[in-house]
Amino acid sequence: MAATTTNPTYKLDLTSSPHVHSRWSTKQAMWMVVFALIPSIISAVVFFGFYQLLIIAVSVGFAVGTEAAIKAIRKRPITIMDGSGIITGLLLALILPPNFNLAFTAIGSVVAIGIGKEIFGGLGYNIFNPALVGRAFLQASFPVPMTTWTAPNYTVDAVTTATPLSAFKFDKVAADLSDLFIGNIGGSTGETSSIAVLIGGIVLIGAGVVNWRVPVSMIAGILVFGGIFYFIDPAAYPNPVFHLFAGGFLFGALFMATDWVTSPLTSKGMIIYGLGIALVLVIIRLFGGLPEGVMYAILFMNSFVPLINRYNRPRVFGEVTK
């Protein structure tokens, strides 16, 4: 767009106003997300061992490689340095079970980028969160490895454990809340430590990359919807605080549901979307066949985003509300 003209001495930029721009760019925002995932990467390594770094490397490598390959086939500019492929790879790796098979990881990563993103035209055009598409594919294809939870470190090698959610669902055993908070429990590698997820999430909200409305409405939603059932029968249904810290809820609320591309545009839309995820999640967790449902809840609400955008326009200044 840079139209220039020659005056005796200088070439001047003649583009129309505004003539200044904020320091933000997509690339910076993406790298900010990568930065915010560092605490979760650390918690994955601390609780489940260095092997998790290998999963991350494979996942990121195949994500970036797939993106570059598809762009090359389509003869489009290679955009891997925008950081979005790296994020998808990282997110996918962090929502896999500990010590997951590397070949399967690679397949998940290829599907996440290929089917989750590039098939729609690349970054900005996809409907579903790519990392969750990859994980949903793995869940359907390899159900057993995807639900084999190696216990956190300091126990004996290769001992499997139940996740707190499945323990509650099938045995009505509620995990200790402090373990849930620290992350010393069974679960997907990046999700177990609530504290690590919260640190990264708060950084993103503080930097303005993530709009607080999505995570806050999800948290409010799960406390209210979970609380209603707990109030009805505390023996049969878990405490809403347990819902909040168990499984992938916080990771989903701060890193998955907040994906710019697949979440609504307007403030009101974001709140409806967040509450919707919380409602679907509570229903899956309490009445579905699976102990956990963050992934499906988010994917389900992703599909409503265009509709939410259409019916939740902001109020035009000076217009009387109907």
């Binding site: 003539h19 900005g124 035009v316």
Partner: protein
């Protein structure tokens, strides 16, 4: 200022780097006469004035040289004594050539001002007539002739005059300097405007990043109970009419309506000064006050220049540009116009001349929209810029019309914010013009 009192404001908006420190402490300097004066016949919204002089005429400083053509049009006076050399189309800061009167200034100025009036005894009709004769135009963006705003239709009940001292555009410090250096004249101008319209409530809206000006104004109105100094939050575009009215009175001007529809007349600080000078000194609008700033100019200044002074003379007077110059803008960095022909003259409503460097512009490459919603979040008018820009780009004008594209005031907040660097307001501006053309055609059909 009470720390616990939240500054009044509006929803949305941004806070770009202010960059006011470059010029905020420079006292106004009056620039000497340039070698040639070029006065376009149009300085305001509405119709161009009709020239009353011809080639070879001698004119005095302050002499009427072009008369208004119709209701929305402003007269023009010669800013210098001298000889009319030509009337010809010439470059303007708006980008299009306009009919222009060229004057070669004489060695000394002979003045031909109007008679002075006593501000305490002047009648409302006299003030309006004086503002009309002095050719005062609004100092906001649209440069509406001021006397039109002083003559609201009978059925519009105005109950407050707001003086806009926000100066929310980065870099600009002209209004700030007026409030600091000519505090009492600002208040006097406001009182004259209030008297002209017959309103007994006045407010000066000012952003909280100007504590020096706030203190001076509060001191000046200490014994004037019907004028308040309303401190509002420092945020762009706080100085947009609708936004300031919302902050000060909590009233919202509906789409397609004017401030007078909610009982408000809003005027700029520079306009108040011009009204004061016209009444008290008999001075027609022959000078413009502007901030010359940016990291590309060697000596940032606040200047009083003769209307009609070419941009090149102003740049030279401020020490010229340095090697990093990337863009030259007349107006503010958010809504100003990029310049390519520096023979174009300063006009009555010119508020700034910015010489910007690459570092200040901070342009990035455009990438696809990620639907992050930041543009929606910051739009002060509650629009959805990403949708409007896309519809404009795809030529889907009817849909853009339904999504209120014509409400956009082109403040540029969306483009400033967009992390994907999409030229949102640029697309919207284009779409808006085309929708408005479509609406006119529909009406005439």
């Amino acid at each position: 200022m009470n720390l616990f009192q939240k500054a009044k404001t509006f929803r949305g908006g941004i806070h770009p780097g202010e960059a006011k420190e470059l010029s905020e402490n420079s006292v106004f300097e009056t620039m000497p006469n340039p070698a040639a004066i070029l006065i376009p016949l149009q300085h305001s919204a509405g119709k161009a004035a009709k020239p009353l002089v011809k080639k070879g005429d001698d004119v005095k400083c302050g002499q009427l040289i072009a008369e208004p053509d119709g209701f929305i049009s402003a007269p023009i006076h010669s800013p210098v004594s001298g000889k009319v050399t030509k009337i010809t189309p010439a470059a303007t800061v708006g980008g299009f050539p306009k009919d222009t009167i060229l004057i070669t200034p004489a060695e000394t100025n002979e003045y031909d001002f109007m008679e002075t009036l006593n501000p305490d005894k002047v009648t409302p009709a006299e003030i309006k007539e004086r503002v009309k004769q002095a050719g005062i135009v609004g100092k906001g963006g649209a440069a509406f002739p001021t006397y039109v705003k002083l003559s609201p239709p009978e059925d519009k009940k105005i109950d407050v005059i707001i003086l806009n001292g926000c100066e929310c555009e980065p870099y600009l410090t002209r209004d700030y300097r007026f409030m600091i250096e000519r505090t009492n004249e600002v208040v006097s101008g406001l009182q004259l405007i209030m008297k002209a319209i017959g309103v007994d409530k006045g407010s000066i809206g000012i952003e909280d990043n100007k504590p020096g000006a706030i203190a001076k104004l509060k001191e000046a109105v200490k014994f004037i109970p019907n004028i308040t100094v309303d401190v509002v939050k420092t945020k762009y575009p706080q100085g947009a009419e609708k936004m300031l009215i919302k902050a000060v009175t909590n009233r919202e001007v509906p789409p397609g309506k004017l401030p007078m529809d909610v009982g408000v007349v809003i005027q700029n600080i520079g306009t108040a000064i011009a009204v004061h000078d016209a009444v008290v000194k008999g001075e027609p609008e022959i000078t413009a006050a502007l901030t010359v700033s940016g990291k590309g100019i060697n000596q940032p200044k606040n200047l009083i220049v003769r209307v009609g002074t070419p941009l090149s003379d102003v740049i030279e007077y401020c020490g010229g540009v340095n090697e990093y110059v990337e863009k030259v803008v007349v107006g503010g960095p958010m809504m100003g116009v990029a310049q390519f022909d520096f023979s174009a003259p300063i006009q009555k409503a010119t508020s700034g001349l910015l010489v910007l460097t690459e570092d200040e512009i901070n342009a990035h490459e455009e990438t696809p929209c990620l639907k992050c919603g930041m543009c929606v979040d910051v739009c002060p008018l509650g629009l959805e810029p990403t949708k409007l820009a896309r519809l404009s780009k795809l030529d889907r004008l009817e849909e853009a019309e339904k999504l209120d594209i014509t409400v956009c005031m082109e403040c540029g907040t969306c483009t400033y914010t967009c992390p994907a660097n999409i030229p949102l307001v640029q697309w919207i501006r284009l779409g808006k013009q085309r929708v408005m053309t479509m609406q006119r055609e529909r009406k005439s059909a």
